[in-house]
Amino acid sequence: MTERDDLDMLVAEFVLGTLPAQEREYVETRRREDPEVEALILQWEERLGRLAEETEPVQPSPALFAKIEKALDRIESTARKAAETSNVVALRSQLTRWRWSTAVASAAALVLMAVLVLQPQPTPETQSFVAVFQHNDEQPAFLLTVDLKEQRLNIRPVTAEPRPGKSYQLWIKADELGPNPRSVGVLGNDFKLDEGALRSYDPALLKEATFGISVEPEGGSPTGQPTGPAIHGYLYPTDGNNQ
């Protein structure tokens, strides 16, 4: 059997639902990093999706939607607060939460991240992007602002605290850079990073890239790749009305 067949069967079983927890997590991690895996998953979901028609609908209790709306209010207000601290209050934000972990990371090590999406406009003055790195549903941990025009980055802690013997490291990942994340830099004790650290990257690449922050041994990852729990997300190309 070829490697591709193996992957196809792994994905097929993921969609069918029979994979053990760890293999599910592995597939879920790969789907976020590899568009091919994502595409295979969607294909299998379409193949088997009609089976769901055999399940009869069940009316939810009226209280459930109210609960969901409340949870959503909390998420949205977190997003708004984060936007305010970055002086981009006026910009409409979108929030995406990502759950990312290695196949072996324990559930406790999972860190959630939110990405605030600022819409790009064709005009040159809005070249600024922001991402929020979030510990949980409530509190943003870091805020990353990228000024594309100047290729300048600014990272600031929101609730993140120094961890003894550990360093935070910022990563960038993009198709053009190959399959692995590349280190942007290790955050200093004051959480500062050289604001020109992204200068060597093309702005078009930065727009498409995924950023991540991982917790590493002091001084940064010994392997050149993220080794600790990480939080990931896109900086979307921004624009008020392009959707």
């Binding site: 097929a12 979901e45 379409e46 999706g49 009609r50 969901i68 959503l72 998420i75 929030l95 959707q243």
Partner: protein, 202 residues
């Protein structure tokens, strides 16, 4: 967590599969696109149009109402956050939504396998559901084709595919029910899935 065993009523399955304008695929797709724009009203409409379907799916897997409610809440928050990833050409909207809920339910179940137990009643439900569903979907070409392809499988494997997809059974659950080693179950599932894929493509 050891939830009460929750059996779904079987009488709803024969109901005609009528679609009101609010839950046609086109309308649901439009709502998802509006949710991607953070439109709260569209989110409420999307919930109204789809929550019964998603809850039915999740409850059948978890068999516990409180547990299912939690997963539904989590699923709709994910839908809010992932709506911008939805692409018309790649997913049908209901399947996309159901997949988010199913994945959450199965993740939960794999993490807390003691939360429910499988039983052979679920197996007994299979053939009935299948034929009713077939009648119900007679005019739906795609479903007929999937059902047709599943019907081509050996009986045990038909049941395995349905128990896995609809009831969330793991390889281990299937292995003990069908009295086979887990690896044999895995091999059977792979063969069944390949056969379904080939059949759907033919």
């Amino acid at each position: 967590m050891k939830p009460d065993s929750h059996q779904l009523p079987d009488n709803a399955i024969g109901a005609p599969n009528s679609q009101s304008p609010s839950d046609t695929p086109e309308h649901v797709a439009e709502l998802i696109h509006r949710v991607a724009q953070k439109d709260r009203q569209a989110f409420a409409l999307l919930y109204q149009a789809t929550a019964t379907k998603l809850l039915g799916t999740v409850l059948r897997i978890l068999r516990d109402r409180g547990w299912a409610d939690d997963v539904i809440q989590d699923s709709y928050l994910k839908i809010w956050q992932k709506a911008e990833q939805f692409q018309d050409g790649k997913s049908s909207p209901i399947t996309w939504l159901v997949s988010i809920a199913r994945n959450s339910a199965i993740d939960e179940l794999r993490k807390h396998p003691a939360g429910r137990t499988t039983n052979s009643d679920e197996l007994d439900e299979m053939p009935g559901r299948q034929s009713t569903a077939q009648e119900q979907l007679e005019d739906q070409q795609a479903a007929n084709k999937l059902n047709h392809c599943i019907d081509q499988l050996e009986k045990d494997r038909q049941d395995m595919v349905r128990l896995a997809y609809l009831n969330g059974w793991s390889r281990e659950d299937l292995a003990s029910q069908f009295e086979q080693p887990v690896n044999t179950v895995k091999t059977w599932l792979h063969r069944a899935l390949k056969q379904i894929k080939r059949c759907l493509e033919s």
